[in-house]
Amino acid sequence: MKFSIQINEGPYQHQASDTAYQFAKAALAAGHEIFRVFFYHDGVNNATRLAVPPQDDRNVAKQWSELALENDLDMVVCIAAAQRRGIMDAAEAKRQGLDADNLMAGFRISGLGQLIEAGIESDRLIVFGA
């Protein structure tokens, strides 16, 4: 079956991203397809590569990144939510005249239409949030 996942909360503050990650891993292990993971609201903060959690803690952004690269997942960060919160890829940072970018490998920035499309194209969409 084809799933999509929406994540509304950032890492560490709330369990939503952790639960979504465990769900995604289990879905892939069970042979399901994940059409897209869409990061919205503070969920866009899962996509920064500049987070440095303590060594004995999980690295949420890195976990997602590795899962995406290993399984060829499409992980989309909402551009409007990302711009509000300072999550930028190199192209967008340049376009905005900013001196830095921070998007982790495995994520891409795109529009809200990607969320609607995920709903249309998937058999199930499940939302994780606060």
């Binding site: 409007a80 809200l112 239409g113 969320l115 499309e117 249309i120 969409l125 949030g129």
Partner: protein, 134 residues
């Protein structure tokens, strides 16, 4: 592209958190996809639709006028849970009057808001294929 039944469930009040505003942004973008869209306002979500929101003093943009434009985007199935409204001491008179124009009936103006009981809304929710929660 297939047409699916989409429901947006709005359960959070505006301004205190960003969910209401960013949910509305999804609804507006989603309208371009010509899906079968319903909006549900449950719990504190009903506060999103109060009349007379005035936000200058809190330094945020008042986005409540956008709800009145939803009819123009063919978003005209707006369900308000009756129990939620009543337990907050509100009635439909306290909410914006949202309308849409029915192109099949010579652009007759019709109410977008459907005041429904929890059990009625539960039936509508069960018919949905995709539920986006905010």
């Amino acid at each position: 592209m297939a047409i699916k039944k989409f429901m947006y469930t709005n359960r959070k009040a505006p301004y205190g958190t960003v969910y209401a505003l960013e949910s509305l942004e999804v609804v507006l973008i989603g309208a371009a996809f010509d899906q079968d869209v319903s909006l549900a306002f449950i719990g504190d979500g009903v506060y999103q639709l109060t009349k007379g929101q005035t936000t200058e003093a809190i330094g945020q943009k008042n986005f409540s006028p956008v709800y009145a434009a939803l009819g123009d985007y063919d978003v005209n199935k707006i369900y308000i849970e009756k129990e939620s409204l009543e337990e907050r001491g509100l009635s439909l008179d306290d909410l914006q009057h949202l309308v849409w124009e029915d192109e099949d009936e010579d652009w007759a103006e019709k109410d977008s808001i459907r005041l429904v009981s929890r059990s009625e809304l539960a039936d509508v929710m069960t018919e949905q294929e995709i539920i986006l929660s905010f």
